[in-house]
């Protein structure tokens, strides 16, 4: 049996390198085109996943929730590519957008009436501080000029 840390490390490696690919891609293409090509990449994975499972037996409600989740994910992808296109560094944009569980906790609090635990309150405070600090560009910091497909 393979240890779970091996799988987790593979996930970290793939998602980590994905952030680099996203920035490199945005140096060559518009945010809109990147959304389309990334979706193509996701679609390539569907036959593989289809071999492992089926959607048979899922209720219409759950299918709708899944499709809406995909829509939200796609719109998020568009926003992150716009963020990178407007000059954000990958090393800032990726950690900043990875703070999205903050909104998940907020939405769960509002709509599912879940009360954040003490630890989650600490996480929320840290996320807010991290967001503000990651967004800070020193006044003397040179504006990054996006290289057009230079890499």
């Amino acid at each position: 049996m393979i240890h779970w840390m091996v799988y987790a490390s593979i996930a970290i490696a793939l998602w980590g390198i994905c952030g680099l690919f996203m920035k490199l891609g945005t140096n060559c293409l518009s945010a809109r085109s990147m959304v389309i090509w990334v979706t193509v990449g996701f679609l390539l994975m569907v036959p593989l996943m289809w071999r492992m499972t089926t959607l048979h037996g899922l209720s219409l409600g759950i299918v709708s929730v899944g499709l809406m989740g995909g829509l939200a994910n796609g719109l998020g992808n568009w926003a992150v590519f716009l963020c990178l296109e407007k000059g954000a560094k990958a090393s800032v944009a990726i950690p900043l957008t990875a703070l999205y569980p903050l909104f998940t906790v907020v939405l769960a609090t509002v709509f599912l009436k879940e009360r954040p635990t003490g630890l989650q309150w600490i996480g929320i405070a840290l996320a807010l501080a991290a967001g503000a600090m990651l967004s800070y560009e020193g006044t003397n910091e040179a504006q990054e000029v996006p290289s057009r497909c230079a890499q």
């Binding site: 998602w15 490199l24 959304v35 990449g41 499972t53 998020g76 909104f103 600090m133």
Partner: protein, 143 residues
């Protein structure tokens, strides 16, 4: 006369919009996970992305940019994310989400290292501190 320039970079706004949409996606995942397996949800998520891609194509009057390098990076991003999700689910098969998710949440650290090496990106001290706080926040909020 010099006009005072705003130091609020526009990309921050897009980053916030992104966190909102991905946060909503996380919320819907939470609801969906009660009745569907992660793999079933992942297929539905992929199908749900299609209207956004079609919307982009419509906005571009069906004239898709086909720069080979850019398209390759885009496709690789999608494949890498998808494979990463499969690896994540495999980890969840062996261990609880409250243990796995905070660990996989460390992935931005690798992006920072790669961006430092490949793109020669440098973070200022404030951003570096923010990065450390972000990793702690991601880990805590993932539990």
């Amino acid at each position: 006369m010099r006009t005072k320039q705003s130091h609020f970079p526009v990309w921050v706004l897009y980053a916030l919009v992104c966190t909102f949409w991905w946060g909503l996606w996380g919320f819907l995942s939470k609801i969906g996970s009660a009745s569907a397996t992660p793999l079933q949800l992942q297929i539905l998520f992929t199908l749900g992305m299609l209207p956004v891609a079609v919307g982009m194509l419509l906005k571009m009057h069906w004239k898709l940019e086909c720069n080979l390098k850019g398209a390759s990076y885009g496709i690789l991003s999608g494949v890498a994310t998808g494979l990463g999700v499969l690896a994540y689910y495999a980890a969840l098969h062996e261990q609880d989400a409250s243990v796995v998710t905070p660990v996989t949440g460390l992935f931005p650290l690798l992006t920072v290292v790669l961006a430092f090496v490949v793109l020669r990106e440098r973070l200022n001290k404030v951003q570096m501190t923010g990065m450390i706080l972000a990793l702690a926040a991601i880990a805590i909020l993932s539990i």
